[in-house]
Amino acid sequence: MDSTALEAKVFDLIGYMTSSARNLIDETPAYGPFRLVDAASQLVAILEEAGVQSPRLTALRQEIDKGKYSVTVGPDEFKAFLDALVDTFVDYLDPGEPCCGP
């Protein structure tokens, strides 16, 4: 993907995020968290298309895409999905190796 195409996709994503930000003031509150994780998934997809290889980003995107529509099932299901997603993120953020050496 060249920089022109990349810029165009990011521009579209910014549109999604800024219009969501404005619209969500008057929309269903749970759609706010949904739009956040969906935007995260779209961002990773853009990076993948641009040739950025990251197993952890791909894993996170796949987990998001698998569970994000739990928002339409119910608040408990959506919370459980988000809790699990946070756990996965922390698994990558702090994989159990010593944080800070001497």
Partner: protein, 172 residues
Amino acid sequence: MDLYAAIRGRRSVRRFASASIEPAVLERIIDAATWAPSGGNAQTWRFVIVTEQARIAKLKTVSPGLIGEPGAVVAVCQDLAAARAKGSALGEVLLAPCDAAMAAQNLLLAAYAEGLGTCTVASFTHRAVARLLKLPETVEPILLVSVGVPDETPKAPARKTEGIVHWEVYGG
């Protein structure tokens, strides 16, 4: 420092100069925190002082409200099992968070007296912070407080006066 001057002078600081904080200073402000009152003198608060910048960076990743580059982050926690053992449901649900807040306020004022800036943060992912700080299962983070050498002096927001204070009865 005059106590009223500290109460009125303290600000929520979100921009810090990159400077480390002496451990002895941090110990003093945490000691001040432990002199807060607690329901039934429970003292079930627990404090985790984070000064390693790599660890602070990880905390920031899961704490949208944690802004700037503080020299330290203090996690003001509560052992909720101990709070329940001491005060039943009231102890766990009401007293523990209130006690943590009172301890945090002492911490803020003591830090100000030491020339430091602070910001109290409630916008963080509890389960992620608990994992990063290796908290035991019964210990819950209640607030995060960023502490550092201030690089700004925010203006004080106006304080509401109308309808705030009532004498004898509400509306009096």
